[in-house]
Structure formats: C-alpha cells, structure tokens
C-alpha cells in the first residue's frame, strides 16, 4: 500500500513543480497533465474510481487541452515570463513557506490524523447515479445551469472583437 502511494505522490509533486517552473508554456501544460494523472491514480488508490475517471476525462481531457489552445492562441511562448526582481521571489517564498507551515502544523495537531483505515467501501456507479438523481438532484440541476451559463459566457467573451467592429 505504501509504495504505490509514494510513487504516485512523487509523480504528482514532480509534475506540479515542473508545471510551475518550466520556461516553455507548452511544456508546463504537459507537466501539468502528469500531475493530474498522478492525482487520478491516488483517487483510484483511495477507492474513488468514479472520481479518478472523472479527473482523467475533465482535467486531462478537457482543461489541459483547453489550456494548450489558449497558449497557442495567445502566443504565450514569448520569453520574459520569469520575474527579474528578487524581491518578488523572496516575498512569495516567505508567503508559501508560511502557508505550508501553518497547514502542516494544523495537520500534526489534529486528532483526526491517526484515524485507522476502515474497510474499503464498495461504491458502484449505480449508487452514485441514484444519489445524483435522488438526494443531490438540486445540486445536479444547478451545476448543469452553471456549466451552460459558463459555456455561453466563454463563447461570448472570446467572440467579441473590438477591432472588427
């Protein structure tokens, strides 16, 4: 149980660090898909197969591809992306280390952390579908409305061209 987790965790963190540090933006998104794939593996490890597959479909299949399209449309491979002022680097790293320290301090202090693992629950897609159509049907409708609005809004925002008018 430990070794797969360590491999997937290393893959995820390495992908995330690479995505945030490469100079070429297309390479950044390719590293990002690695991090998303590692996370999908961790979801499978935790017994959430449906979420793992949704992660692959939505994040790797849609969001990463959309980001590549945006980079190519905006010619984002131009240089000069890295900050040249050390002051901004220093302030950012102080903030990040402080946030990480506070989170780890809270995790270590919590009594929840040493909870034993319960036997793996059997979650079928049928159960998820019944929950979505029963108890959570209002949330499902709201998210459908939100996605429709976001789709129309994204098309309108990107379509409007001031120069062409």
């Amino acid at each position: 149980m430990t070794l797969p987790f360590l491999i997937l965790a290393a893959l995820t963190i390495a992908g995330a660090v690479a995505a945030m540090s490469f100079r070429n933006l297309v390479h950044c998104v390719l590293a990002l898909t690695l991090a998303f794939a590692g996370l999908a593996g961790i979801y499978l490890l935790l017994g959430a197969q449906f979420v793992g597959l949704a992660q692959v479909l939505v994040y790797i299949g849609a969001i990463a591809i959309l980001t590549v399209f945006a980079i190519l449309l905006t010619r984002g491979t131009e240089p000069g992306d890295f900050p040249d002022t050390p002051a901004s680097w220093r302030l950012s790293s102080v903030i990040v280390v402080a946030v990480f320290g506070v989170i780890v301090w809270a995790i270590r202090g919590s009594s929840l952390s040493h909870r034993a693992l319960t036997p793996k629950p059997q979650v079928s897609v049928k159960q998820i579908g019944e929950a979505l159509m029963g108890q959570y049907v209002l949330a499902l409708e709201v998210i459908g409305l939100l996605l429709t609005a976001a789709l129309i809004g994204a098309v309108i925002i990107a379509m409007y061209d001031r120069q062409a008018k």
Partner: protein, 102 residues
C-alpha cells in the same frame, strides 16, 4: 498509509500551486496554479471521505464531482477572458495589464 500522508501531499500540492500563482507573470500559468490548488482541495475531500466514519454515504465523492464541474466552468471562463485580454493588450504578461479603462 495514514490520513496524515494524504493531507501533507495535499498541502504540498497547494503550496506549489500558490508559489506558481504568486511568482509567474503569465496569466495562463497563474490560472494553472489555481487549478493545482483546486486539485489539492479535491484530494482533501477524497481523503477525508475515505478515512471518515461512514464512507458509504458518498458525500465526499459527490462533493468532489461537483467541485470538478465548477473547476471546468472556471477554466473555460478564465481562458476566454485571457484570450479577450490578449486581443486588447497583445500580451498575457500580468505586469503589463495594469489599466481598467478600455
């Protein structure tokens, strides 16, 4: 594996995303950093669901599915806005996008 290891992994992922969002100058990479932070939150939901007292209730799974849906909507609108801003300013460098008057 204990719950702690998943929570620390999620905290690491959140910190990496935060570092990227704070230091990178390209608007698209800032959006990618925000996506990483959202993924860290999703990992927390799943870990707490798995180690919670009654995982048969499916609450964590369903919350994560809705969270992924909201993240997809956010990415679509965010990238559309970045393309619209690029069309106006001819750059995606956040340091050069500093006026609100059209």
């Amino acid at each position: 594996m204990t719950l702690t290891s998943y929570l620390v992994l999620s905290a690491l992922l959140f910190s990496v995303g935060l570092a990227g969002a704070l230091t990178r100058k390209n608007a698209i990479l800032v959006l990618v950093g925000i996506e990483l932070m959202l993924n860290a939150a999703n990992l927390n939901f799943i870990a707490f669901w798995r180690y919670g007292p009654n995982p048969e209730l499916l609450t964590g799974i369903l919350f994560t599915i809705f969270s992924i849906g909201v993240a997809a909507a956010e990415a679509a609108v965010g990238l559309a806005m970045i393309i619209a801003i690029y069309r106006h300013y001819k750059t995606t460098n956040l340091d050069h996008i500093d006026s609100m008057k059209g």
